[in-house]
């Protein structure tokens, strides 16, 4: 595998391998000691790993949608498309790894596969993710063999849309969390997929960085619409929940999203050609958005059950990921990068060398 890689790519590969090893070590630590090594508690039950899962699946599925769309609009050439599918596949696999690493008792995972309980959006999510990945593999093989890929590309793109919609409803289905149980959840997830997908597209095809810029603006508008509506027109509970986001314990994640996830990548795209850094900021910002959305939504039930006044209640929560959580998440991403480079080098030895140098190096 290493024989066909450039020096810069080898460096990335080694860094990814180190991250993966550290992440697996941290996961083993979590398995042995239990999830008390995380910053989660009985109110904030989903944290960094789930936020990054949502963001990385959004990016992967979003890129797959764009690959499918390019079959009709022709904005990607064959090499870019095959790289895009490989990138998308690696991102979705990373999400799969991450969600398993976040389970308290992953040894029983086979029960999920065999339950076919389709009233559970987790089960639907699993099957949509699996089907989307299978479609992506078929798409990749056919694209590499220079076969006609319009039909399979369309199927993969539709499954990608389905995957994102299911994840939006997975959150919105929790009706007792008003922040989540809104039609905005699915819209926000679809915009997130557009943002993540166009960020990865810009890495593969820098000439399309304007699509990424449009996605950044769209994401900012949707975020402001969501936050503004709750603050101005919401109930006491909705207002206090959103206050915890804009001026409370979850504000660091909100402003991280705005600055690192939207302003910085936009400025990088306008002023420089550092597309990969801009894309990285965009996807990290997307994860930050999911993190404040999760945390603020999770506190709502506690607030409703304890009758101590919404504002007082939401202010007393906080969530800071522990080093173990950060290492696990970074490890899953390391596995994803490793997988991407493996697919790219094992299957696409004829890929554009200059692009691979640029993408991997930056």
């Amino acid at each position: 595998m290493l024989a066909n890689t450039s020096k810069k790519e080898k460096t990335v590969l080694i860094a990814a391998a180190v991250l993966a090893v550290v992440g697996i070590g941290a996961w083993v630590c979590q398995l042995m000691q239990g999830m008390r090594v995380t910053g989660l508690d009985n109110t904030i039950i989903w944290g960094l790993a789930i936020a990054v899962f949502f963001a990385i699946i959004a990016a992967g599925a979003g890129l797959l949608m764009l690959c499918g769309l390019s079959e009709y609009l022709g904005f990607m050439n064959d090499t870019q498309r095959t790289q895009g599918i490989a990138f998308s596949l690696a991102a979705m696999a990373t999400g799969g790894v991450l969600i398993i690493m976040d389970l308290g008792n992953p040894a029983q995972f086979l029960y999920l596969i065999g339950s076919f309980n389709f009233t559970s959006f987790t089960v639907l999510d699993f099957w949509f993710l699996t089907l989307t990945m299978v479609a992506a593999v078929v798409y990749l093989i056919m694209a590499r063999a220079s076969m006609s890929t319009k039909a399979v590309g369309t199927i993969a793109a539709v499954l990608g849309v389905g995957l994102i919609v299911v994840e939006g409803i997975l959150l919105a289905n929790n009706t007792s969390h008003h922040l989540w149980a809104s039609p905005m959840s699915v819209v926000s997830f679809l915009v997130g997929a557009f943002l993540g997908g166009s960020a990865l597209l810009a890495v593969i095809a820098p000439e399309h960085k304007k699509v990424f810029m449009v996605a950044l603006v769209t994401s900012a508008l949707v975020t402001f619409a969501e936050v503004g509506t709750s603050l101005v027109a919401g109930t006491d509970l909705a207002r206090s929940t959103m206050q915890s986001v804009v001026a409370g314990p979850f504000a660091p994640y909100f402003y991280f999203q705005l600055v690192i996830g939207i302003v910085v990548p936009f400025a990088l795209l306008v002023k420089t050609n550092r597309v990969v850094l801009a894309a990285l900021c965009g996807v990290v910002g997307l994860a930050a958005e999911k993190l404040w959305l999760l945390c603020a939504g999770e506190t709502e039930i506690w607030v409703q059950m304890h009758h101590i006044g919404p504002l007082q209640a939401t202010q007393q929560f906080s969530y800071v990921p522990t080093p173990v959580e950060v290492a696990i998440t970074a490890g899953a991403i390391g596995i994803g990068v490793f997988l991407f480079l493996f697919i790219k080098n094992a299957l696409y030895k004829t890929a554009d060398k200059s692009m691979s140098d640029g993408a991997a190096g930056e």
Partner: protein, 199 residues
């Protein structure tokens, strides 16, 4: 047959006997309360008052926790009791997010015990098998006692008889319900099997 409970708030004195009985009977870990008594201050001076609200899992007729469980670990028995099969639970915590009543607890793996300086006592050792790290737990309505013909520990020990356990389909329980008992958060359409009789 649908087992449930009617809690008479006019009788509850907030003594937490139910809380302690539940912990003793089910050997829950420190910080875990399947049965608890919430105390809050309601209203404002000069009409402020202390509100006492005993809670437990509502064993809903339409339990969202069961619907969202991806493995079938959360299930409802024919008699209406909602339980968790720890052998099937993967610890995804979706049921905790879905439950509108904050009735579920995740086992984070902390095994410090009640008296860490003395180590576990014989009872803690004997009941350690009940706790599975990385899984979700909740009130079982003392299903094991019910199967033996007994009633839940919280109802058994209540000194004022505020916790009334029985078959909600029975005439006695229906009569109490008709006295004005209400269910928590009816907007969630879960149809809880726990009713509250207002003061």
């Amino acid at each position: 047959m649908r087992y449930g409970m009617i809690i008479d708030l006019g009788r509850c004195i907030g003594c937490n006997a139910c809380t302690i009985a539940c912990k003793q009977k089910n050997a829950t870990l420190p910080g875990v309360f399947w049965c608890k008594v919430g105390v809050s201050e309601e209203g404002s001076y000069p009409h402020a008052y202390k509100k006492i609200m005993p809670t437990l899992c509502n064993h809903c007729e339409n339990p969202t926790c069961v619907h969202v469980c991806p493995t079938g670990a959360s299930y409802k028995r024919d008699d209406g009791i909602v339980l968790v099969d720890k052998d099937k639970c993967i610890g995804c915590r979706y049921c905790m997010a879905a439950c509108p009543y904050e009735a579920r607890t995740f086992d984070f793996g902390d095994r410090t015990g009640y008296f860490p300086e003395r180590g576990n006592n014989a009872y803690e050792d004997a009941t350690a098998y009940k706790h599975v790290k990385g899984t979700v737990s909740k009130c079982i309505l003392c299903a094991d006692k019910i199967d033996e013909g007994d009633i839940p520990a919280c109802a058994r020990v209540c000194p004022t008889g505020a916790r009334i356990f029985g078959d909600l389909d029975s005439e006695e329980m229906q009569a109490l319900v008709k006295e004005g008992a209400y269910q928590p958060r009816p907007d969630e359409r879960t149809n809880p099997s726990v009713y509250y009789l207002p003061k």
